[in-house]
Amino acid sequence: MWIWRAKRCSNDGLHEKTKMSELNKLFKERKKNKKSSFIGFVTSGDPNYKSSKEIMKEMTKYCQVIEAGVSFNTSTSDSPIIMEANDRAIKSGMNMSKTFKLINEVKKETKTDTPFVLMTYLNPIIVYGIKKFIRSCQKTGIAGVIIVDASLNSPEEKFIINGLTKKNIGYIKIISPTNSEKFIQSSIKNCKNSWIYITSYYGLTGSKNVNIQNVRKLVKIVRKYSKDIPIGVGFGIKTSKQIKDVSKYADATIVGSAIVNKIKEGTENGKYGRNLATFIGSYLKKLTK
């Protein structure tokens, strides 16, 4: 499937293709070595632009992929922990274009090849402009995009998927234990050029503990419709033990609330910039060892 994608988008230049392959390769290679990939989530600009940049730079050392949230004040799917991070970022003046700038700078300054995935809502994209958004993703070298409230029937999603696909940027859908097989099947279709995001329970990020039972069930269903689409699992993963458990079933594990909570803790203890970044770094070191 990836090949088909690459072909269809072959006129899009090497850069994007490489990135996508890299991400894909990453998952597969690590899987071969019985290693799952680790995806760390932060809200970009949390607690502010400078500190966030240091944190992301630090994260490149421990994360195979970084998921950067675009702050939105009327989020309908984030846990209170992430809502607070959004509030901190918005207060510090964060927005879509600064998010691109931030990621761009992280990439340049670290010379990392760690892929970045954006997590956002539709409204910031619409206001920023859909076409401009796709162009900026391409320019910044974004590897994939998650749009929480883009529903399967919305014209916006179709438009965005088309645009991203042309630029060889991955589009990632989230599925949960209560979704029907039909819904899961359609979602997989939309993720053809990337990976699918499984939530381990029905609820909000960070609100409960990861539910392995659900993960196994969902992986089974996904595999029914796709033999090889990479699977990422999130929601409720907080410990290295949980990462290991989930890794048995998934190509990637995603940790969000736990990291964001650490940022809050650090900030509340007066840490900023590099100071805060090393604080997060040592946490990630323990988590991922």
Binding site: V70, F72, N73, T74, S75, T76, S77, D78, S79, P80, M83, E84, N86, D87, I90, N95, M96, Y121, L122, N123, P124, I126, V127, Y128, V148, D149, A150, S151, N153, S154, P155, E156, K173, I174, I175, S176, T178, N179, S180, F183, S187, T199, Y202, G203, L204, S207
Partner: protein, 414 residues
Amino acid sequence: MKIPPFKEINPPDKFGYWTNKKTGEKFGGQYISSLLVPNLKRVEDGFFKAMKDKKFLKELEEDLNTFIGVQTPIHFSKTLTELAGGEKKIGKIYLKRTDLHTNHSHKPISAYACCKLAKYLGFKKILTETGAFQNGRAVASACASLGLKLDIYVGANDAKKLAINKDISALHGARIIEVHDSTKSLLPAMAAALRAFQSEPDSMYVVGSVAGPMPYPLMVRTFASVIGRITKKQFKNLVGKDPSTLFAVCGGGSNFSAIAYPYYKSKKPDLYAVESAGDGIKTGRHGSTIGGGGKMGILLGMQSKVLLNGENVAESFTAASGLDFSSIGPEVAYMHSIGRVKFLTTTDLQAKKTFMMMARKHGLICAIEACYVIFAAIKEIRKRKNPRENHLIHLCGSGEPNVAQMMDFMKKQK
């Protein structure tokens, strides 16, 4: 009087959009996380099933008639008619007395009907949001009467305010959950209620206006349109024909569509929706989504006109807590975009003066929300200057919750 049955005259497409064919703008839809998909499907399927279930409809009708008390009168207002210039100049002004419902506004109809649907579908608990507990109270009353549990999400700042309807919600046994996100007001409270809906599969979300992801905008206006269906028939019986104009206030739009819906496809009456201009549109401190130049946006599961602050949703400002919303329902936004509905605005000061006028000269304590529409209506009716016209104003609620605020205003005026 029997409640005239519902007829779908303005259906959205199968994805939940009302599309302006000329501009291509789409209003409505279902912009939600995958996690919400099954819940919304259960509600949507349940709603369409219930609307075909004669037993459900019959019971609902009886409850609306005798528990909510929807058979409210239309009052020929001599006071307003004279104020606008007299019968010989402007015709006659009538008030639809929605203030006489149980819980004193239009909200209880859709609140009750949605909760009744929840019970019908086997849900045990309701989730809703509220600003000044107008919706909170209406849902709390319905839940108490139907034996459902209730969590009300309210912005932490709103929760601090003294409000009789807050106390009443508590007396009805509702659990009140404070939301500390963002502006700590209605918008994040609504987002929080939707998020809770994503976590509690045995609970049904009930929205306070014709907003949110499909089927909510459709469902709320369908239930709420009871007011308009009764009104249309009543007005014909009373005056012999449809009104020339119809004025209703518009926060989220439930109050407007509740009365205007049955007239959407006819030429008459001219439809006016009135927004709160707060301190004045120019000050930027207002709640006028249309009048204040709102743009297309996607929030709380729907696509509609929104007041934006960059990529985020802007805060709205108004003295009327019921109008404190930075967007409007997709169907109303659509009706505006195709030119069927005209939008007007009234400032807070004008509304407060109208409140005092209504108390002093009309003997009515109107919801402050209703005062925005009364002021704008009188102004517009004066302009129309047509003695052959009959005007209908939606007196959408009674003003007990505004008494403390208005006492302050009265003292300052002195």
